[in-house]
């Protein structure tokens, strides 16, 4: 039973090993990846069910008890995010297999992609499930080292520079993370999150807030909150579409998750968090204005990603149950939507052969299915009523208004404005790329990379994968009621860390 918590980490690792060993057999690699990632979806759904009904599932690795050993724990928040993430990784794998088969034929194997992608999935799962700070660092490292490979794979001279930016920024923040862990350990003598919750509250106030701030900076770099976001719009557009999709969908959100986890469990605040509110507002506005200035489709989507990180910071800044419920809903919705948008952007560039919006046109006629696939996540992202973005944004706005401070009112206003700006940005894409005179597809600018492949052909697998993700985001809207309930319960868990602490430290399923 408790082994279910370890499987989402161990299965992809094992599959990565096997797929490295079977590097020459393309089909074995593909089947292995799909089976394992599919199994993780089922596993995560089970975890979510059990965690919701019976409370958090705790696994003490090797049977070593909690503050000393390594703890894996699946509570409602972790299981929910794991479920959504595994759906995204599964769909993206289908997409990239489809793209590979369409471009190189079925027999061509790729020795690196599958193992590295599975490692990335293992890192993401570990980040959600880990119960101690040092393993969170390990999870980030697994995730980031894989992402360094994925972003610089089959690289060309022009793509090395953004790849370097990404690597250096991530490494710097990793060093900072390690330093913070050392400081926390020096101050408290433990790295177990549940144990830290107790020990940190005994520290002097100044020390608490400086550690909390350092931690916020570390995760702020990963999550791309505004003063620390500069690396994202430069590096993400320089990876192939499926890879950008999984980066945009998952990596930044794992940063947000880590921020939520540490700021609720370890560093507890008394009231509304003014600084976070200010950063949230800044992130929304800077991101949205940046998006409006772009002509490159992928850069625009990257700026929108930054801008919508602001919503999640907003909920965290409000810091009550309603706010956190909003954050969880928003993260769930945003993981699927942002991944879908980047996948669809990949489909679009295959038809146009360029990422420049000014050179696109008439896609609605040329590729009607792509147009439908774009319109769903685009409307969802901008929060148009029937879709899931609306539900999540409404929850956040309500939380902001209920908080009743002037700062919260201000940010809520900024959120509405950002929503409109997002709508404007995606409408601009719509009118440039989908309406107007059909343009002759531009030739592939650099056939050696997989960045822009203007072949005009899309394989059914790519369409299905994008469709599945778009459908998932619609499904989130349909299931908004139960989802909001479960997010609410997860938020209650977060605000009252007792359940988490007793599950890990006392009466946990040790031994």
């Amino acid at each position: 039973m408790t082994a279910l918590v370890a499987l989402p980490v161990l299965l992809p690792l094992m599959a990565a090993g096997l797929s490295l060993a079977f590097g020459r057999f393309a089909d074995i690699q593909r089947v292995l990846g799909l089976v394992v990632l599919g199994a993780i979806i089922v596993n995560a759904a089970l975890l979510l069910y059990v965690a919701d009904v019976h409370g958090p599932i705790v696994l003490q690795l090797g049977g070593w008890p909690a503050p000393l050993g390594i703890t894996l724990i699946a509570d409602r928040l972790a299981a929910l995010l794991l479920l959504v993430s595994s759906v995204v990784t599964f769909a993206v794998l289908i997409y990239s297999i489809g793209q590979r088969v369409a471009d190189y034929g079925r027999g061509t194997s790729s020795t690196t992609f599958h193992p590295i992608y599975l490692m990335l999935c293992a890192g993401v799962s570990l980040a959600y499930l880990t119960g101690d700070l040092f393993n969170l660092f390990v999870a980030f490292e697994i995730m980031l080292s894989s992402s360094y490979v994925l972003i610089t794979r089959r690289t060309t001279a022009t793509r090395v520079r953004p790849g370097m930016t990404y690597t250096i920024v991530s490494l710097t923040s990793s060093i900072l993370f390690l330093t913070v862990i050392a400081l926390v350990y020096a101050a408290t003598g433990t790295v177990n999150l549940a144990d830290l919750a107790q020990r940190v509250s005994e520290l002097p106030d100044g020390l608490q807030s400086s550690l909390g701030l350092l931690m916020t900076i570390v995760f702020g770099v990963k999550a791309a909150m505004v003063p620390l976001h500069f690396w994202l719009p430069d590096s993400y557009p320089n990876a192939p579409a499926p890879i950008t999709a999984v980066f945009a969908g998952l990596l930044t959100k794992v940063g947000i998750y880590a921020m939520i986890r540490t700021q609720t469990l370890v560093f507890q605040h008394e009231s509304t968090w003014q600084l976070m509110l200010a950063i949230a507002l800044l992130t929304m506005i800077v991101g949205a204005l940046g998006a409006l200035a772009q002509d490159d489709l992928n850069r625009m989507l990257s700026f929108l990603l930054v801008s919508h990180i602001g919503y999640m910071l907003f909920g965290l800044g409000v810091y009550d149950i309603a706010g956190l419920t909003g954050v969880i809903l928003y993260v769930v919705h945003h993981i699927t939507v942002q991944a879908t948008l980047f996948l669809v952007s990949g489909l679009i560039t295959r038809h146009t052969g360029t990422v420049a919006l000014s050179r696109m046109g008439g896609l609605a006629k040329a590729a009607p299915l792509v147009a439908v696939l774009f319109s769903i996540p685009a409307l969802t992202l901008s929060g148009v009523p029937p879709f899931s973005g609306f539900v999540a944004k409404l929850a956040l706005l309500q939380a902001g208004v209920d908080a009743g401070t002037w700062a919260a009112y201000g940010v809520a206003g900024g959120a509405v404005l950002t929503s409109l700006l997002t709508l404007y940005a995606v409408a601009r894409v719509w009118s440039r790329a989908f309406w107007g005179r059909p343009q002759e597809p531009a030739g592939d600018p650099d056939p050696s990379d997989e960045l822009v492949v203007g072949t005009g052909t899309t394989s059914p697998a790519m369409m299905v994968a994008s469709g599945v993700l778009a459908a998932t985001s619609v499904l989130i809207a349909v299931a908004a009621g139960p989802l909001a309930d479960i997010s609410g319960r997860a938020a209650v868990d977060l605000m009252h860390g007792e359940t988490y602490r007793t599950a890990v430290l006392g009466g946990g399923a040790g031994g």
Binding site: L13, G17, L20, G62
Partner: protein
């Protein structure tokens, strides 16, 4: 791992030649520019190579209670190959290992993760280890800790990583340089 040329022994083996090594003592006598050769290093590598490998196995087995373990054992085994590479150059190193490093890494990773799940079959938790003691004739009591099998996976993985580094950053770059020089 070292390939040994199976020399068919003659009908009547002379007593003076029965212990001549089946391989040449100097690793790369015929492949490299003589001016670049380091005879002392080549001889040292020849003598040290098996010793270092045995030492790495010692580290692997000693790991549970003494200094060592799969990681350091794998690194030390990797150093044996680094030494051969330094002495013999790319001609030697590529002929030493017939296994592809990525396969070695993959097998090691698979073993390590698989072993961590095995305790589940015996009602334990993930990564739990057990200790068994046997009495083997001639050798006396032998204590086996099941985490040894995990360490074997780690050993292979690390060895694979070092070999891969040697291949990509060593011999592959040398081959590139040689190709450029020839042009």
């Amino acid at each position: 791992m070292t390939e040994t040329e199976s020399q068919s022994p003659g009908e009547q083996e002379a007593w003076t030649t029965w212990d001549t090594p089946s391989e040449r003592w100097l690793l790369s006598g015929y492949t490299r520019d003589r001016r670049e050769r380091k005879i002392l290093l080549e001889l040292a590598a020849r003598i040290l190579f098996p010793t270092v490998l045995v030492f790495s196995l010692y580290l692997l087995f000693a790991g549970h209670e003494h200094t060592g373990g799969g990681f350091s054992g794998g690194l030390v085994a990797g150093q044996a190959f680094v030494l051969r590479y330094l002495a013999g150059g790319r001609m030697d190193s590529s002929s030493t290992v017939s296994l592809q490093p990525p396969v070695l890494i993959g097998v090691g990773l698979t073993i390590a993760t698989f072993i961590s799940l095995v305790p589940l079959a015996f009602g334990g938790t993930v990564l739990e280890s057990a200790i068994y003691t046997f009495t083997v004739p001639m050798l006396g009591q032998i204590k086996i800790v099941t985490s040894l099998f995990l360490d074997i996976g780690v050993y292979l993985l690390i060895l694979g990583v070092v070999l891969d580094l040697l291949r990509t950053l060593g011999s592959a770059i040398e081959a590139d340089v040689a190709a450029v020089e020839r042009r």
